[in-house]
Each structure stands twice: as structure tokens, then as C-alpha cells.
């Protein structure tokens, strides 16, 4: 029981990290970024490259990796996405092309075999008689800290309120003189950094291989739709719901169904309450 509680929390926390960034960039810039999973993969691979190949100690390597992914996100938005922003489909396709290209780059540079990213804590920790992998607890705490800081940043700073203003009404925000392009870059950087950080902290206990971007991408998608496109609290709530349902299904029923759970949740949401748990209602 406690095991399920802890593992569910870890799974949910990783989902939330992926989903919050994904929903943020949609809410602010209306960009459905299909390269979001790529950020996650790049985070993990940079951590691998820095620690294993360049022998950088783990903590600086982790920070550098996250910074690198953030930079990648900003450059991608600036160079490839922004010129196409007037067409939603074009943005979707170009981010997809980025994702596919980067997957091939990882194949070519690192090969098909899985890679090992070192953990912050490499031994089990016992909580009330339940032995839990230490890295998972580290991941859980980092996730909570990062999401909470993001929350504070958005609600307590000037830049944060500009982000909120744009996500509520982009046009009005422009009239108010908020430099939306700079905000887009910033939000893309944040979104990429969060996903990259998720990659760095989850890599030691999950997969590191070139195709690792797909599952997180689909999960982020699912969580964001269930939570309501553009809503950060919605994403967090949905991450908890989906994270725990997957964990419960895996532990108590049949692990084969875990992949289907989030997808079914998505379809049910779209059919029954398309605006998601906490999204704005959708008009005809």
C-alpha cells in the first residue's frame, strides 16, 4: 500500500514536470509543441554525455544539461517556430520534424543501446518498512521544488504576471505593452528546462535510448488534455490522477494496461468534458 503511494507520487511528479511545461507554452503562445519529449530525451543524454564521456561530476552536469536543453528550446522557438506561428498546423509539423530529426541524431551519435546515467543516490531507502530506490525520492523532491518555484515565479514576480496576462488574453497583453516575443522565448526556455530536468532526474531509473522521447510526449499530451489545455493546476491534478491510476493498475491488475490507461482517460475526457478538469469551457 505504502509502496503504491510512494511510487505513484514519483510517477505523478515526473508526469507533472513534463505536463506543466507543455501546457504553459500552449497557454501562453498557443504552441502545441511536439518536440516536448525531445527536451526530456536531450536532458537525459546531455547528463549521460557530461558525466560518462566528459567525466563532469553529477551536480554540475545536471545543471549544465538543464541549461543546455533550455537553450535548445529557446533557439528552436526563435529560429524555427516563430516564423511559422501564424499557422497552428505548420508549428505542429515543424516541432514534429525537430523531434524526429533529433531522435535520429541521438541514434547516430550515441547508437541504439541504452545508456546509463548515474543516480544522485544509488541505494535503497527504507520508509516504514518499505524499501524505495533513493533516486526516486530525489526525483520526487526535485520535482516538487521545481514546480513550486515555477508557481511562485508566475504568481509572485512581474515577469510571471506578464506570462499570466498573455495566457489569459494575448491581444490585450500586447496593448498593455508586454513584449510577447520575449515572453515566448522565456516560457519556451522554462518549458524546455522543466522537461530536461525531468529527463535528468528520471534517467537513472528509466530508459535512456534514442526513442525515449515518445512515451513522455504522449504522457504529457494525455495529462494536459485531461487537466485542461493551458491550465497549470489542471495539469498537476491530472498528473496525480493519471500517475496514480497507472501505478494502481500496474500493481493490482495488469501492467499491460498501463499504456492504455492514459489514452482511455484522454478519449473519455474529450468525449465527456473536452475542456478538461480545469480548462476554460469550449464554445461551439
Amino acid at each position: 500500500m505504502l509502496t503504491v503511494l510512494i511510487y505513484g507520487a514519483v510517477t505523478s511528479a515526473i508526469f507533472a514536470m513534463l505536463a506543466v511545461g507543455f501546457t504553459l507554452i500552449f497557454g501562453v503562445a498557443r504552441i502545441l509543441n511536439l518536440a516536448h519529449g525531445t527536451f526530456y530525451a536531450l536532458g537525459a543524454y546531455s547528463a549521460f554525455a557530461l558525466t560518462t564521456i566528459l567525466k563532469v561530476p553529477l551536480l554540475p552536469a545536471a545543471i549544465l544539461s538543464v541549461a543546455f536543453v533550455a537553450l535548445f528550446g529557446i533557439v528552436m522557438e526563435r529560429v524555427l517556430v516563430r516564423p511559422l506561428r501564424n499557422s497552428a498546423l505548420a508549428v505542429l509539423m515543424i516541432t514534429l520534424a525537430v523531434a524526429l530529426t533529433m531522435q535520429q541524431v541521438l541514434f547516430l551519435v550515441f547508437g541504439s543501446q541504452s545508456k546509463n546515467v548515474p543516480a544522485f543516490i544509488n541505494h535503497p531507502v527504507t520508509i516504514h518498512g518499505v524499501s524505495v530506490d533513493g533516486q526516486r525520492l530525489v526525483a520526487l523532491s526535485i520535482a516538487i521544488v521545481l514546480i513550486a518555484s515555477l508557481w511562485l515565479f508566475i504568481h509572485r514576480t512581474r515577469v510571471g504576471s506578464a506570462i499570466l496576462a498573455i495566457s489569459q488574453d494575448a491581444e490585450a497583453a500586447q496593448y498593455m505593452g508586454i513584449p510577447s516575443n520575449r515572453i515566448f522565448s522565456l516560457v519556451m526556455g522554462l518549458s524546455a528546462a522543466l522537461a530536461g530536468a525531468a529527463g535528468v532526474i528520471a534517467a537513472p531509473f528509466l530508459t535512456v535510448r534514442p526513442t525515449m522521447d515518445l512515451v513522455p510526449m504522449i504522457t504529457a499530451f494525455s495529462v494536459v488534455i485531461v487537466g485542461g489545455l493551458g491550465s497549470i493546476p489542471g495539469s498537476i491534478l491530472a498528473a496525480l490522477i493519471i500517475g496514480y491510476s497507472e501505478t494502481i493498475v500496474a500493481f493490482y491488475w495488469n501492467p499491460q494496461w498501463t499504456g492504455a490507461i492514459s489514452l482511455i482517460a484522454v478519449l473519455l475526457t474529450l468525449v465527456l468534458r473536452p475542456s478538461g478538469l480545469m480548462g476554460k469551457p469550449i464554445s461551439l
Binding site: 497552428a88 509539423m93 520534424a97 524526429l100 530529426t101 535520429q104 499530451f221 489514452l263 484522454v266 464554445s283
Partner: protein
């Protein structure tokens, strides 16, 4: 259609029909068969999504639906392969109704995402219920529609021509005009007294039926069906084909399908760099040719001559 368009289309079809005669081997015939099937998939996507503006990110649901229907009919139950065609059209069309009714009323990306999820769920089911579907290895040991690969190619090519002709004709009729009006403003279209739900769902069903037909042809060409036929990647590839061909023209989409598959085969010589180079090319096309490649090119050609 102007006279030049007829001539261009005729020349293209004649070229496609003649190529395997000059390059007589099973490889090229096979490549062109798959090209033509890709053309059917792209044209069927474009008919619904290109005209109505509701992007379908789960076209593989219909393609795979048709393919699996064929696999069950012929591979599992041993029916004559020609029975796959009607069943492989009806099953995806029926699926499209089930998905279309609840989700097509939604604006924005929701329909796209619902289709994406539906196809992914179906793929999961194809793996989970392996007792019936053969799991990841799928169903194999199907027979061909036509034994001679050249004969089969001509049948597929004829189907492609018929698909494009039928869909293009509908698109040019008032039906197509209504779809384009829905793309423009669905609410206003309702206010003009048009039952937009009916047109959207009927068009999706038609699109699904043709996609399923393509799926049937593919399944019988490969003589096997796997969950790859339901994959997100396939759905996305179809959209890429349409995008490259030029959205909304149908024939351009079909050309995009042919072109992309041809390109992928041409790049075989690059070995493991193949996909990487392919995606880079794709990115350049997406970025620099925003209206697509084929249809706009044809129009420009017309412009320069006129």
C-alpha cells in the same frame, strides 16, 4: 478543371503506368505500389481534413482498421481476398462514426487529439489482445489480391486514380464547398442553414472508407498486418505527405504521398543516415515552402506560362 490540368494529370498517370514497364523488376513495382497506396491515404486525409480544416492526427486508425479487417477476413477466416475490400471499407467508416459523433463538434485541436488517442488505443489493444490479433508480430500468411506484382500494381494505381477522381469530384461539388465553408466558419455555416455535423461526419466516414481501402491494398500487398499499421508515426507520415503535396487540392496530396515514399526509397543508399537526411529535407520543406511543394509548383508553372 482546366484543359491543362487534365493534360497534366493524364501525363502523370501515364508515366506512373509506364515506369514499371521500363524498370521491370519486383522491387520497383513494389515501391510504386506502396507509393500509390500512400497516395490513396494522403488523398483520403486531404479530402476531410484539408477541406474542412479539422486535422486528423489518427488516420492510421482507419488505415489499420482496413488492414486488420482484411487480415481477419482473409488471414484468419480464409475468405477470398476480394471480400476484404467491402469489409475493409465498412469497418473504418463505422469506426469513424463512433469517434466522429462525440468529437467533431469540438473546435481547435481537440478533434485532432481525440483521433490521435483513438488510434493509439487501438494499437495498444492490438498488442494486449494478442490471442486474436497476433500481438506485435501481427497476422501473416495472407494471400495477394492479384498474384502478378505488375497486375497488382495496376490495380492499385487504378484505385488511386479512381480515389482521386471521386474525391476531387465531390470536392468540386457543393459538398466540397460546404466543407470549405466549415473550414472558414462553422457557426456561420450553421447560420446559413447547413447541417454541418452531417457533412463533417459523412465526409469523415468517406475519408475513413478510402483510407481503409488503402489499408486493405497494403495488407494484401505485404501479405501481413502488424500494429505498425495503427502507429502514430503512420498517421503523421500521412499528414506530412499531404503537407508536402499542398493541403486542400487532393491530387497534390496524392502526389505528395508518391513523392515521399519514393524519396525514402531513394535515400536507402545513405544507410543509417537515411531517416536523418529525410527529416532534414522535410524540415526544410516545411520551413521554406509553407504552402507545400507539388500543388503550388503546378500553379506557378501555369502562372509563368499564362
Amino acid at each position: 478543371m482546366r484543359k491543362r490540368d487534365w493534360l497534366g494529370a493524364g501525363a502523370l498517370v501515364a508515366l506512373l503506368a509506364a515506369l514499371p514497364l521500363f524498370l521491370e523488376n519486383r522491387y520497383f513495382t513494389g515501391v510504386f505500389t506502396v507509393c500509390a497506396i500512400d497516395g490513396i491515404w494522403a488523398a483520403s486525409w486531404d479530402f476531410f481534413s484539408g477541406l474542412s480544416g479539422r486535422e486528423n492526427f489518427g488516420h492510421a486508425l482507419f488505415i489499420g482498421g482496413g488492414a486488420y479487417a482484411a487480415a481477419f477476413m482473409n488471414g484468419k477466416f480464409g475468405f477470398n481476398p476480394w471480400w476484404s475490400i467491402p469489409v475493409g471499407i465498412v469497418v473504418p467508416a463505422a469506426l469513424s462514426l463512433v469517434i466522429g459523433f462525440p468529437t467533431l463538434r469540438l473546435r481547435g485541436p481537440y478533434f485532432a487529439l481525440a483521433m490521435l488517442a483513438a488510434a493509439a488505443i487501438m494499437q495498444q489493444f492490438a498488442v494486449i489482445f494478442w490471442q486474436y490479433t497476433g500481438g506485435t508480430e501481427g497476422i501473416y500468411g495472407m494471400s495477394r489480391l492479384i498474384d502478378s506484382s505488375l497486375g497488382n500494381y495496376y490495380f492499385v494505381l487504378a484505385t488511386l486514380v479512381a480515389t482521386v477522381a471521386v474525391l476531387k469530384a465531390i470536392a468540386a461539388s457543393r459538398w466540397g464547398r460546404i466543407l470549405r465553408a466549415i473550414k472558414g466558419d462553422e457557426g456561420a455555416c450553421e447560420a446559413a442553414g447547413i447541417n454541418t455535423t452531417f457533412y463533417k461526419i459523412a465526409s469523415l466516414a468517406l475519408s475513413a472508407g478510402f483510407a481503409g481501402l488503402g489499408g486493405v491494398l497494403f495488407a494484401h500487398y505485404e501479405q501481413a498486418v502488424t500494429p505498425d499499421d495503427l502507429d502514430v508515426f503512420l498517421s503523421i507520415s500521412v499528414i506530412i505527405m499531404v503537407y508536402v503535396g499542398g493541403i486542400g487540392s487532393i491530387w497534390g496530396a496524392a502526389c505528395g504521398g508518391i513523392l515521399l515514399n519514393l524519396l525514402l526509397e531513394l535515400l536507402r543508399g545513405l544507410g543509417e543516415y537515411r531517416l536523418w537526411v529525410f527529416y532534414i529535407i522535410l524540415m526544410l520543406v516545411l520551413f521554406f515552402m509553407r504552402g507545400g511543394l507539388v500543388a503550388p509548383f503546378w500553379q506557378r508553372l501555369q502562372g509563368s506560362r499564362a
